[in-house]
Amino acid sequence: MTISPISLAFEKSKKERRPALLTYTVAGDNTKKKSLEILNSISNYADICEIGFPHNTPIADGGQIQTASYRAIKNGIKMRDVFQIVKEFKKNKNAKPVILMGYYNMICQYGQNKFLKKCKQVGVNGLIVVDLPWPDNINFAKKCRKNSISFVQLLSPTTSKARMKKIISNSHDMLYYISMLSTTGEKLKVSPRNILKNYVKIKKIIKNRKKNLVIGFGITSKNISSFKSSDGCVVGSEICKKISKSIKNRQNPVTNVSNMVKSLKSKIA
């Protein structure tokens, strides 16, 4: 079996003795063109790019990502544009692995099989479906694997140990630990130390060193350096907020976001 681009990205960051940096931006925020430019520029520093396909009824996202999503939808972004953006991005030699992230209804309306086929075609490497938890995701995760797409299982502080074991045994090469009880974009309300305590416990349950566990929710420039010991850190809301601010101040979001991601990288390198 060939090793997936996502696993390769983790291997590379491990060699450099640092966590992988995962960014989250919304496809089409604030325009199709700008969001592609942002992806191209942050690819210089990020290891994996999570790209959100915006939904207008997001039940797990906080203000920043909601704002970014509404902005993209208002600008007319459709699923086909999302795929188009990924396709263009992947033409860049420096492009990083792409994980699409969103809500299940969008996938259902596109058609599960058609969606996965399209993902494969344009070069999507992984999927996070926020509202399709285990065990409801068993079939879909299998289909992903058949299409060489990593289905990323989520774990939360509320996930019991027994449940965790089952989820892990169903997982592919990456899992996502939600740092705290929160939607995206809230302030970290648990200390990094306690988050890492849980993190280490979960890593012990996972055992398999080929399965990477990233931490997300509440991670920002302020605290990312506390998570250096993890396999990977996801920063989303802070980036979306940066885009909002740039637009408000009539600045170029591409440079601003790119600088932010560069600085994030320097904090974990």
Partner: protein
């Protein structure tokens, strides 16, 4: 072909993944899996607990006020000259609408779960008002999520919530109506699920919320079936039960005890909000054949575009102004046990005028949709046909809209 089973309540006829046929389920973030499961376990325990049932019945009787009246609308019947029109005046329940049943049960469960806080969504403001009443009664702190547009158009209920000590959290996203309030409430629960109970205001949301709400509002038909037997000596041969459908909690509760009767004998008619006559927008996913999609954790017929974005709705009635509908009703539509139709804003207003002209009854804009259908079909039906409309809300909350639209 999926059918309704005779030996089981409909709320319990879901599979192990929480689906009634193709509808329902638990499309929720991982963080909510445990709280939702805990709630389901607790509810299953409590509904078998005689003490809990006694407690529920005590509060339903002595606090909510049970049974609510069942009356014949003599003048309206005479005016329309066809089927007999009756009303189950659920608006006489404490607080003025059926939302009190679900609010009471959720608050009782929250107490048993040892929670100190309860949050809920509201559109018309009744679900919020009732939750604020029940929270106060049972010593819980209460937060209500409500669309900014609804806060403006349902002021009397907002005043009531504040008077009961609840905090109203205005929701400014999207269409600023019920759909956004439910989303925001769920998001709040994701962040606060350890300390806080959530009450979903209708038979929507993840599986367990559909069940608890349907179980609670079924009090309506439990009372009604006895009242009918007392009034007529038996169940009439031709009976039609008409109810407005937003999320579907009043209609489900109104029909539950009659589920297993032949539909030729007892017909269920659900009336959705057709929106303004001139507008393409509506809140009637069942009537207008919306596609199956996922909204607020459950698969259901829902107004959406081809990409799967939920579409904005429009209705004069804040309580019906919701793009989706209960999985239970989707199921009832598919098995053809219930028939669904829509009334426009204008038809509802006209029905309100007619009912209030002939009867000492003041139905809110939601049940006015149901009356519109009753008024439409009654003249064509025989005198031995009994139509019962669930008058599930009081129009006090709509006074500003009615004044504006009807000059009242």
């Amino acid at each position: 072909m999926i059918k309704i089973k005779k030996n089981k309540l409909l709320i319990d006829q879901h599979d192990k993944n929480g689906f009634w046929g193709k509808f329902g389920g638990n499309f929720i973030p991982e963080t909510l899996k445990k709280p939702v499961e805990d709630l389901a376990i607790l509810f299953e325990k409590l509904r078998k607990d005689k003490k809990f049932i006694r407690e529920r019945d005590y509060y339903f009787k002595n606090w909510v006020g049970s049974p609510t009246p069942f009356v014949k609308l003599e003048n309206l019947t005479a005016h329309l000259g066809g089927a007999q029109i009756w009303a189950k005046v659920v608006s006489e329940a404490n607080g003025g609408a059926h939302k009190i049943y679900n609010a009471t049960v959720h608050s009782l469960i929250a107490k048993r779960a040892g929670k100190k806080y309860i949050v809920g969504d509201t559109g018309a403001g009744y679900a919020g008002k009732m939750l604020s009443m029940a929270a106060k009664k049972f010593g819980l702190k209460c937060k209500i999520f409500m669309g900014a547009k609804d806060i403006k158009r349902q002021k009397p209920n907002c005043d009531a919530m504040r008077k009961n000590g609840a905090e109203i959290v205005p929701v400014y996203t999207g269409s600023q109506t019920l759909v956004d309030a439910v989303s925001e409430c769920m998001r709040y629960w994701v962040s606060n699920c350890l300390t806080t109970s959530m009450c979903v205001g209708s038979t929507v949301g993840p599986n367990i919320f559909v069940k608890i709400c349907g179980w609670s509002t079924s009090q309506i038909s439990r009372e009604l079936i006895l009242q009918i037997k007392e009034e007529f000596g038996e169940i009439p041969k031709k009976l039609k039960l008409i109810n407005c459908v937003g999320g579907g909690s009043s209609s489900f509760g109104f029909w539950n005890e009659f589920m297993h009767y032949n539909k030729k004998q007892i017909e269920f008619i659900g009336v959705e909000a057709g929106g303004p006559k001139k507008s393409k927008r509506h809140a009637a996913p069942l009537t207008y054949g919306s596609k199956i999609g996922i909204l607020h954790g459950a698969a259901q017929y829902v107004n959406q575009n081809t990409d799967g974005q939920i579409e904005e709705t429009e209705s004069i009635s804040a309580g019906l102004d919701y793009p989706g509908v209960s999985p239970l009703h989707c199921f009832l539509k598919d098995v053809k046990r219930a028939r669904y139709t829509a009334a426009t804003d204008e038809e509802a207003l006209k029905a309100y005028q007619l009912v209030t002209k002939y009867e000492n009854l003041n139905p809110s804009l939601e049940p006015s949709h149901a009356f519109a259908e009753a008024i439409k079909i009654a003249p064509k039906l025989s005198k031995d046909t009994i139509i019962i409309v669930n008058s599930c809300g009081d129009a006090q909350k709509d006074r500003d809209i009615l004044r504006k639209r009807l000059g009242k």
